[in-house]
């Protein structure tokens, strides 16, 4: 058996082990590679940066533990920016497995900025049937959410007094993976014309670029890379609060794994063509 044949028959578990090592070693010995920002991420940053303090904004954290690795750092970076700008943030989730995650991250980021629940931010919690909920938000938040996650009436929450529906928020920033992003596009942006930006998983990223080009989205965070770009833009805040830059750290690791995958792909192709050439010569 030639070396090419041996390479093509390599046990897949060896490849898993190599990927695992390529993902662990850069964590222990960080390379400190830079992350460049793209226009679609910069536009979200600029939009939030230009809002006046006290402006209401809606953050829909529609992700669950499956996509937490990508959407979590996105949501945290964006919420930190909103709190830094002293915006009034309404947080909600349409993901049934994400209710506790959204509560955890919103309270934890609020503590970093000493923000008060019900005055600076409100967490509405989870409701089922996303399309119906989004449509109702265009009429009145109180239809689907008469009370917030902590069972307090929306009418009794100080920061919600002048927030009736989607017309009263500057924008919706939707962080999630899957169909729910389509629903926000269809039922919130197209129906009620509310400015919309998405933070999506890398798998979903390419399907949302056309909406960026058509102007239906004003910004897009694609996967861990999008989160790392936002962390780069918020670098001063991360330094000031001494916070770990999880997405940037992740992207450094990502680069090493990608190099390994490229090498394995090239070696696999070279081996395949070398064997095919030898077989053709033999016949």
């Amino acid at each position: 058996m030639s070396i090419w044949e041996k390479l093509l028959q390599i046990d897949r578990r060896i490849i898993y082990l190599l990927v695992f090592l390529a993902a662990i070693i850069p964590f222990l010995f960080p390379a400190g590679l830079e992350v460049n920002t793209t226009r679609e991420v910069q536009s979200i940053y600029d939009f939030i940066e230009n809002l006046a303090p006290g402006t209401p904004i809606l953050l829909a954290a529609d992700y669950d533990p499956q996509t937490q690795a990508e959407n979590g750092p996105q949501a945290q970076a964006v919420l930190r920016h909103m709190f830094k700008k002293d915006l009034r943030v309404v947080i909600m989730t349409l993901s049934q497995d994400g209710a506790a995650l959204a509560e955890m991250f919103s309270n934890s980021v609020a503590r970093e900025y000493q923000k008060r629940r019900w005055e600076d931010y409100t967490y509405l919690g989870y409701k089922p049937y996303p399309s119906i909920i989004i449509l109702s938000l265009g009429q009145d938040f109180r239809i689907s959410y008469p009370r917030d996650y902590y069972n307090r009436k929306l009418d009794d929450i100080p920061m919600m007094q002048d927030i009736r529906n989607l017309d009263d928020v500057a924008a919706v920033i939707e962080i999630g993976g899957g169909n729910v992003c389509h629903m926000w596009l269809t039922y919130a942006h197209e129906r009620y014309k509310v400015p919309l930006a998405l933070g999506v998983t890398a798998v979903s990223g390419p399907q949302y670029y056309p909406f960026l080009q058509s102007g239906q989205l004003f910004g897009l965070l694609g996967g861990l890379k999008g989160a790392a770009e936002y962390e780069t833009l918020m670098d001063g805040e991360y330094t000031r609060l001494d916070l770990p830059r999880k997405a940037i750290q992740g992207m450094n690791v990502q680069n090493f794994v990608h190099v390994l995958i490229v090498i394995l792909t090239v070696v696999g192709n070279v081996a395949f063509f070398a064997i095919r050439r030898r077989e053709r010569r033999a016949s």
Binding site: R13, Y16, V19, F20, A23, I24, F27, L28, Q66, T67, Q68, A69, E70, G72, Q96, D97, A99, G125, Y126, K127, P128, Y129, S131, L135, P146, R147, L185, T186, Y187, H189, E190, R191, T201, A202, V203, G205, P206, Q207, P210, Q213, S214, G215, Q216, G222, G223, L224, K225, P244, K246, Q249, G250, V253, Q254, V257, H258, I261
Partner: protein
């Protein structure tokens, strides 16, 4: 139960490692992790639906707010369950018809607007060679047309049509390539997320 986060993190780490152990081969540890996830997810969702939907939108409305017309959607919901009976199964068609009718009426015009009309509008762009943007727009128009011609089967793919269709399939392949690249990045991100948890949150070896 102890509220010490280390204990909870250790349980999470146990299930993470248990799930990853499938990469070596199927084993009881993986089976335990898989069953626990399925069981907890189903139970959690049932309880969540009760407290976020059935209780506030049905029970509370009727019992505490005395809005008795909420009985009607409640009955329609119950009628859905008649699907399990051969004799009374036809009753489930009424709520289903209502649901599909309302859903389609809301969704179809908005979907058409979002995914077809606005996207068509976005391909009607000022084209030219004088600027990068104009050239970029020209590429968008050509690629959209070539991609559409590839799926046009009423004419044989020969001559100009054939060459355009070949260009179209190349364009589609480039799109698939970009999607695949992003998919690899997404899967690696999930692995990175778990390693961040194991090395950082659980073992405190990294920040």
């Amino acid at each position: 139960m102890d509220s010490n986060p280390w204990i909870w993190n250790t349980i999470a780490a146990f299930f993470t490692i248990g799930t990853f152990s499938f990469l070596y081969k199927d084993n009881p540890l993986y089976k335990i992790a898989e069953s626990v996830v399925v069981g907890i997810a189903a139970g959690y969702f049932a309880v969540l639906l009760f407290w976020t939907s059935l209780r506030p939108k049905f029970w509370d409305m009727i019992v505490y707010e005395h809005k008795y017309w909420y009985v009607i959607p409640g009955l329609l919901g119950i009628m859905m369950y008649f699907r399990f009976s051969r004799k009374w199964g036809w009753l489930s068609r009424y709520p289903l018809a209502l649901y599909i009718g309302i859903g389609s009426g809301i969704a179809i015009p908005l979907m058409l607007q979002t995914f077809v009309l606005r996207q068509l509008e976005a391909t009607m762009l000022p084209i030219g060679f004088a600027s990068f943007e104009g050239f970029s727009n020209l590429l968008v128009v050509l690629m959209v047309l070539a991609g559409l011609i590839y799926f046009f089967f009423s004419m044989e793919h020969k001559g100009v049509v054939g060459k355009t269709a070949t260009f179209g399939i190349w364009v589609i392949m480039i799109g698939f390539g970009a999607s695949f690249g992003y998919t690899v990045m997404a899967r690696v991100s999930l692995l990175i997320g778990r390693i961040q948890f194991l090395l950082g949150t659980w073992l405190h070896l990294v920040d």
